[in-house]
Symmetry: D2
Subunit: 425 residues, 4 copies
Amino acid sequence: MKEEKVFKDPVHKYIYVQDKTIWDLINTREFQRLRRIRQLGTSFLTFHGAEHSRFSHSLGVYEITRKIISQFERNRYEDWPQEERLLCLCAALLHDLGHGPFSHSIEKAFNTHHEEWSCRIVLGDTEVNEVLRRVSPDFPKHVAGVICKSYNKEIVVSLVSSQLDADRMDYLLRDAYFTGVNYGTFDLERILRVVRPYKGHIVVKESGMHAVEDYLMSRYQMYWQVYFHPVTRSAEILLQKIFQRAKHLFEEQYSFGFMLPPILSLLENRLTVDDYFLLDEAVMQTVLMFWCSEKDPVLADLCSRFLNRRLLKYTTMEKPSHALLQRVNSALLDAGFDPDSYLEVDFPSDQSYDIYRPGESDEKLPILLLDNKEGLTEISHKSDIVRSISGIHIGSYHLYYPEELLERMNQTEYTDVAELLNKRK
Amino acid sequence: MKEEKVFKDPVHKYIYVQDKTIWDLINTREFQRLRRIRQLGTSFLTFHGAEHSRFSHSLGVYEITRKIISQFERNRYEDWPQEERLLCLCAALLHDLGHGPFSHSIEKAFNTHHEEWSCRIVLGDTEVNEVLRRVSPDFPKHVAGVICKSYNKEIVVSLVSSQLDADRMDYLLRDAYFTGVNYGTFDLERILRVVRPYKGHIVVKESGMHAVEDYLMSRYQMYWQVYFHPVTRSAEILLQKIFQRAKHLFEEQYSFGFMLPPILSLLENRLTVDDYFLLDEAVMQTVLMFWCSEKDPVLADLCSRFLNRRLLKYTTMEKPSHALLQRVNSALLDAGFDPDSYLEVDFPSDQSYDIYRPGESDEKLPILLLDNKEGLTEISHKSDIVRSISGIHIGSYHLYYPEELLERMNQTEYTDVAELLNKRK
Amino acid sequence: MKEEKVFKDPVHKYIYVQDKTIWDLINTREFQRLRRIRQLGTSFLTFHGAEHSRFSHSLGVYEITRKIISQFERNRYEDWPQEERLLCLCAALLHDLGHGPFSHSIEKAFNTHHEEWSCRIVLGDTEVNEVLRRVSPDFPKHVAGVICKSYNKEIVVSLVSSQLDADRMDYLLRDAYFTGVNYGTFDLERILRVVRPYKGHIVVKESGMHAVEDYLMSRYQMYWQVYFHPVTRSAEILLQKIFQRAKHLFEEQYSFGFMLPPILSLLENRLTVDDYFLLDEAVMQTVLMFWCSEKDPVLADLCSRFLNRRLLKYTTMEKPSHALLQRVNSALLDAGFDPDSYLEVDFPSDQSYDIYRPGESDEKLPILLLDNKEGLTEISHKSDIVRSISGIHIGSYHLYYPEELLERMNQTEYTDVAELLNKRK
Amino acid sequence: MKEEKVFKDPVHKYIYVQDKTIWDLINTREFQRLRRIRQLGTSFLTFHGAEHSRFSHSLGVYEITRKIISQFERNRYEDWPQEERLLCLCAALLHDLGHGPFSHSIEKAFNTHHEEWSCRIVLGDTEVNEVLRRVSPDFPKHVAGVICKSYNKEIVVSLVSSQLDADRMDYLLRDAYFTGVNYGTFDLERILRVVRPYKGHIVVKESGMHAVEDYLMSRYQMYWQVYFHPVTRSAEILLQKIFQRAKHLFEEQYSFGFMLPPILSLLENRLTVDDYFLLDEAVMQTVLMFWCSEKDPVLADLCSRFLNRRLLKYTTMEKPSHALLQRVNSALLDAGFDPDSYLEVDFPSDQSYDIYRPGESDEKLPILLLDNKEGLTEISHKSDIVRSISGIHIGSYHLYYPEELLERMNQTEYTDVAELLNKRK
């Protein structure tokens, strides 16, 4: 490019684009579509500022990757494979390309996987694919390989996907910024200064251990304060219930009063890359809005609750017994609610977010410290604080139910259920 | 309310709700709808962080108003009519209730007015109206009066709508925060300390003059850096062209391949409050997306340009002569573009944003300084800097056109046009 | 006061003074003296921004206390003894009044205690005492009682001095701000919202547990990143060595080439309140500067090292054996350095800063959570993260020595010492 | 250097040192002395956070210069003379080396000039000179040349000293940070991106005009809100009065009860570079403190006022007539105050700070915009806002006098004076 381009960004101040390929990728229709997918799904119903899109996050991941590589180049580290630069940048930019609207709920209800979709879009007949092919015919395959972690150089994969990757570093800072909580802030500039390539890994200089501790503590707090927030979970559960109900109705050959093509493909389980392009949050919200008038009362009610933010209430509890759940089921049925659509027991750590737990069967590459004698040690062996955090399994069970249950149910008959619900936090 | 409720807000840290009425208003479906309308319309196409909604802005306006009133009460100012507290808070919260999707473009194309719609919603058969009526039967009318500036106490109106109102103070800070530019920041806390009620007006202690200067300079910069940004304008113009084309097609009884009910009502010019509820940005974007496949090539092309961010290019110029415009028209026609849909000459100050210009026929109440001898002076009489800013009429003409024009047109025939477009900034 | 006064403060934005007594206290010569004592002693030699004074910190502690009490009053909590307001504010403002220059080093070398001096100044013939007596004859005694923790109401003492007191909350935020590290930031506004008076204690609503965790994690990081920083410690040790040498010379009746009255009183161990007023960092630095030319070469050299920031180097190690220390001693002596003045083994947790360790013989009141059933629980029983942090005893031994040692000593004779020093971090 | 070194800095996050020469300069005793000189002189008496030193500012100026040059090198601008890099960095770092304690007051009272002293230190028998000579024998002379603006390449001088130099950019940001006012913040990163070397000048790309406007507006506000603050001026005036009195007493052969060598040299007007090294704010404050007990009552009283912050009061007024001043003089004399020591009429723009006024006999190089056609234009020809600001001559006269005057003077005799003083702001 003749001249570097910049984007104004609230988190990184500016995002610098220096390669024509990156510029062209940003301008593809598939990448622009990410403007229509919120980064945090339903979190905006808990934190009203969290309305930022995956578009801005993707630019942020790209920018952090660019900064790391540029530091590697400036210091002329021998262990850095310079020829991988553009591949890293493209994979960083495109890693979230396959996210659909409200991913967490959709993936659960329809068993889709956003990484798989990212690869399908990269490899399919798309503008993104065309731009990548201009680099070299094999380039789309390499990019897809990095995104799906099958690329054969760990050092490349780990920049985009590891326990200390550009993805997490950007989303912690960005989500903290847009929600307004200050738990997610850590010293990015310092971390950038202490990571380096070393024998095929990305490692951290031992003197940077405290900065990494701070990063991991921020992550820990963000998970519990933001990502696992029970109100956000309540909205996600509602969405899942909506999709399950729609799927059920579809399988029962219910005739929908309102339908849009990409949603139909989703229900038919035959989404193409072209359909997927149409599947954004605007379409999803539009369908939810018109379904508020569906003749199926359950679907209509669930959609209306979601749209007007009348979410399911929750109560915090120990792991519930089968007997107790049966009682709640009965109470719901007696009050006129179908438990399949109006009851959920949720345990946060079931979710796809992860806390740093080295040693567990975690697919993410761990954080390695490099000491003066050139030895590598997984960080929790050196840091008491990391060891402490990674051993903690907080999280209690939450039971979600419609607010009206308490009024409608027979409180004398269901004293046990009433007691459970009344002690709600 | 038993206990005050809080919302986490990135701009004000927390938003405090202490009245049941406010809490209930926030939970109405009409207010929740504001989550689906972006605060800055098309600005997110220029500043990708600007994805925040009118919901968060409305809470912010409420919060600033609450802080001002709470300061008035704490200081027991005699000139403050305490009985107007709840009215002010409700009007502050609801003043933007009538905003539709991409208001600026829609209002221009369909001649609607958001303030009018705010009042229709407040007075109509809505959940908001019901909550307000619980305060007193006349209360909705009073709230509408404040929003439409017909309420008979200037002091109440001016908190919500004047040159130094809670609305502007919130949007400058909020838009600066979400775009990431730091032009819009000023010392809110200091301004809150220097405003006070005085003989029916809201005035500023003279010692606070510099803080107000700083606020006005921030506003000045925000207008030129953000609100009048030519790329944002380009997107707004594209939307207007889309709506004009759709209106034109509708009038010609074109049969749309895709249509949604509220859009139809809009085209038929018979929007009801119920239709209006459905008219959010999700619906609008969904229609734009499906119109990309309309058989009318102009509509399809314009929609696709908007959705995939292939905006019209612009060139900066002196006021163009009629002759020159005719030449551009011809060049467009020869290149196969309908000038009605692909050409626009724009002059920023035509727009609805306003710069502080005391004395001009501005409906907004001016800023008054209160000196030690209890005299009131309009600020530009005391502040050189305000006088300087308010006298400035920057702004040049921008001519918007499709990027392909340069390639497609006959450059030998249209050397004058080519020269004009080539010197583009 | 006719009108509230404000101070612009970088940490709290503004500090509000609403009581004549507070205003008068700030204007006493004893309180103004705090402008001449740095908050963080020698830390400015590590973090050059850390040049802020105890004056600004004292205002900050006052402001946080004011905010807490004002929240108590606004919510009309019955368990809050309203009559104690002014006492709390005065104690908060004055609690650090007795700090001398470079307190940590001076207190160690001369066995003084700043809290004791705070009380002597409050009770002595001072302007502060005069202002306090105007409130009531017993008032100075009550203020001294709160500062020295002998006052008979725990709730009053704990606002100023406990594990979650206004003192710590201000210094973490302030020290983070001025050093520029971002470890010390936590959500003050949220903590202020969740503390409340309860049966004679200051407690935290259980829902505020995560905010307190975040505060304790910040504190943990600040201790290891800032307060225990080995370079800062090196400067403190150098000062101690200087004072010890001066004391030794004084006891040996050495005739000082330069002396100032308050330093003489300090050496003679007969400091009066009047002398103490003169003992600020300007005087101390002036003496250190002129002592660079003392004829005693050790004193002159130590002072010159401190002033020109040629600090002792350090090496990190396991707890050193007596034999090893003897070897280092010999190496120093052979190289011409008196070990008493040029060698120190330091272990951070020996210091007066403390980490949250409930249960240990800690004089600070612990943090209590108040649950919905009105039960009180010490926080580490509910929070895994607090339990984890409080169990950690990091900290390694540091051996401080003059940089020249390595060059000057016989490396063949002292291979063990050379090896120890060469592996320095 | 083997490895780049960093300083943690609150304003720039980190300051990067990559050259051994810079590292060695920072560690000289003359540069370390700047830790003992406050950046803003007496401003800490108005803004208690403003306790930062010239040491941290000097590092900041160096860092901004380093960033600008590094951008020039990254873009391989041909107009940038690469061989001047180290010279620029050294001059940036050392430009304030000659500042004494409370420079403004001292320079006025003793007619010294800090730039001259910077050069004397650079050229004298100092550690700084020694480090610079290691680069080349002529190097100290070149550095002094840049500092005193006699060096023959404008482009080098203008980085350190022009209307848009690293010096001003750092002090605006730094002073805003430490005082806590937010007037001084502007988008440094954007300005760094739009400056470039062009035909021997440092110029600004035209598209960066708004960023420069914002910088100039920040500067404007900082001057009026911070640098010209009447309370700060009051403290400066008091210091001048103290120095004048001391000089007068010295000339009268008054025998001082307390004296320190560098102060004596100052009074004798025979300061050497060695004396100058000793002349820091600690020494100055120590002298002021002990002079509180001088037998000359005027000197003792003035010093005590300064030290305990009992500053002169002020009244704002139109330019006072000679007759009126005579009346104030008489009133002072009658009340027992020597007008020479207790009265001052001050007009801010007399001061050494400057506002951007292109065209006036200003030694600072103006700001040039570079347009697409490679033309250079002084910014006020293109920017209405700059033209507006630079034309403004605000500033009113302030008359400073002792607070006790009003009580002590005969109000019936001096009704005119009483009226003047009573209307004080």
